[in-house]
């Protein structure tokens, strides 16, 4: 919150119970911690340079997450909503491309590292 901000855009990622129609039991997240924090910091700075935004929150969990739990939260506070929406979208999209965090989907009959294979 900030008196000069007119809006906060929040993205909350949640664990879904299925992928491509197949039931997911849980997710397991792993991170290369030092580098992940560094890349997250870079993304926040890039967003701050691109849009007139004031505050950014970028949070990601690791470990085992059950269906419905929250692996990622992004919040952006800005004077006006356009910047908040655009920056929030940019941050989550870029996080998914550059931050060294990995997600394994656990199914009844096995497990898969997401995006590993074509």
């Amino acid at each position: 919150m900030s008196p000069t901000c007119g809006g906060i855009d929040v993205f909350i990622g949640t664990v879904r119970n299925a992928t491509k129609g197949k039931a997911v039991l849980r997710l397991e997240f792993e991170a290369y911690g030092k580098m992940a924090l560094k890349e997250m910091q870079k993304i926040a700075e890039e967003a701050q340079a691109k849009w007139p935004i004031e505050k950014i929150l970028l949070h990601h969990r690791t470990g085992v997450l059950q269906v419905g739990e929250v692996p990622v939260i992004i919040a952006v506070a800005a004077a006006h909503r356009d910047a908040a929406f655009d920056a929030c979208r940019y941050i989550i999209d870029t996080l998914k491309q550059t931050v060294p965090i990995w997600k394994k989907e656990i199914f009844e009959d096995g497990e898969v590292w997401v995006a590993a294979h074509p």
């Binding site: 990622v72 931050v99 060294p100 590292w113």
Partner: protein, 80 residues
């Protein structure tokens, strides 16, 4: 030069360990390391891609490796 390579995600499964060691005989560049890793672990070639990080930064192919560098293999990321 012997290079210790940290592994995460599916790379840890492929190495069977959270790190591995690779011997680079000729020039010690990121590209040479990539080639050596793929020879030592052919399964890496089935991944859609992988990057190499040096000291917590994504590294370019031509970058030279130094003995004290922290090197990691970065399989396709899937955070969020």
């Amino acid at each position: 030069m012997k290079v210790k390579v940290l592994a995460f995600g599916i790379a840890k499964d492929i190495f069977g360990s959270s790190s591995t060691a690779v011997e680079l005989s000729g020039e010690a560049t990121v590209e040479a390391l990539r080639t050596a890793l793929e020879m030592q672990y052919p399964r890496l070639k089935q991944l859609s891609s992988f990057m190499i990080a040096v000291n917590d930064e994504y590294a370019e192919a031509g970058q030279e490796l130094a003995p004290e560098d922290e090197v990691a293999i970065i399989p396709p990321v899937s955070g969020g």
